[in-house]
Symmetry: C2
Subunit: 241 residues, 2 copies
């Protein structure tokens, strides 16, 4: 199973103070890597809700990425939630602690010490040239919420998640969904391994429906597209890509 789930953690997203960039960015990265994203959950900074989301995501996906809730303040509870979801206690990571001592010296207060706390057994990966390590525990990757830091952290690990590519094709139709549904149904029934989506437009676009075909087997994807093409009335296809 080469699938993933994302948990976006933060009251600021739910209260619309900040628009989440991390979910859509990770979705694009995972797609490029051939990883099927199964769900995104956006939850508040509350341990029980994060634990619940983790447990559900772990059941449905091979990799779970968390975004946000990392830091020294009261609303940074992601590390504690991940530890709890796996029944681990929190321990100090000695290498992180050394770095914090070097950076803060006598200003290393209890809040900053929290930055060295990790779930017992977590992987703490330092990379040359970067200040902060990337944390993971089993198949949960714990990423910071600040978009630039999340992108940097994910990028350091990204090749680890690469799968066989997903092939994608699309037909743009001049007919409405109601006119093509029957042909879509026939194509879906014939090519169960191909993900087929139908997206109507109600604006001034050159087409009324975009039909997408996705799958790991390029030949099957093409065959599904050709199957639909053969069923459609002449002139229905505006363009394809």
């Amino acid at each position: 199973m080469s699938s993933a789930a994302i948990i976006v953690i933060g009251n600021e997203i739910l209260s619309a103070k900040v628009q989440d960039e991390n979910g859509p960015w990770l979705a694009r990265e995972l797609r490029d890597l051939g990883v099927e994203l199964r769900r995104i959950e956006t939850v508040p900074d509350e341990v029980p809700l994060i634990v619940d989301a983790l447990q559900r995501c772990l059941k449905s996906a091979r990799w779970v990425f968390t975004s946000g809730g990392i830091g020294p303040t009261h609303d940074d509870v992601t590390i504690a939630a991940v530890a709890q979801a796996f029944g681990r206690k929190l321990v100090r990571d000695e290498r992180t602690l050394l770095l914090l001592r070097a950076r803060f010296g006598s200003e290393l207060n209890p809040a900053r010490m929290r930055l060295a706390e990790v779930p017992e057994g977590a992987r703490v990966e330092f990379h040359e040239g970067y200040l902060f390590p990337v944390l993971s525990l089993e198949n949960v990757v714990i990423l910071p919420g600040v978009p630039s830091l999340l992108r940097e952290g994910f990028t350091r690990l990204r090749e680890r998640f690469r799968q066989a590519p997903i092939f994608s094709r699309a037909l743009y139709l001049g007919l409405g969904e109601g006119a093509v549904a029957e042909h879509l149904d026939a194509t879906v029934a014939r090519y169960p391994a191909v993900g087929i989506g139908s997206y109507p437009r109600f604006d001034e676009a050159d087409h009324r429906v975009k039909v997408t075909f996705d799958g790991r087997d390029e030949k099957e994807v093409r065959a599904a597209l050709e199957h639909l093409r053969a069923l459609l009335p002449r002139g229905a296809i505006i363009r394809e890509d």
Copy 2:
């Protein structure tokens, strides 16, 4: 309980073909209406996953808004999922059927007839000047995924959800989170009814941390802000709003 949850339904979001606009837009609307958004779940076009999300959201929020999965094609399964979540069967809405007959005449095929199917007992609200009705069942509001249609549908109902406003204030600090965490903890402990968030910046902004204070009681929100202000070292506050 004046809270809400959003379920965004669509493989196209998870596969990053389309970036969801509806979750962030609804989050802003709900905030303006004083409604606390508790979670957003983005799930595939699969009935069991939508039913699971609905059941969870109904437990944690008064209102649940679904986005997407409405239409005549095979991947439009939201109506069926809502019916299943409430143990209702699907029935034909007669008024919708009349409108479809008027519009499509002899081209009213089985796919288009599906547009008249609603969970038994659903509210089907027509509004003067609009083509499509807004569907809801108990406290689930079923909105289309096309952003312009979702906005139009929600706007027709929006005043129904209005609550007492949420007051919000913010302090922008020149200190890092590690230097203010202790004072934040003290303020959080003293004002449990105020939601306090701490958001670090690592870019060229004029501040290093934004601290937000949210609550229904304006006096409490202000008192929490003043409490933190009194604890902070002189010069720590860059600006406020």
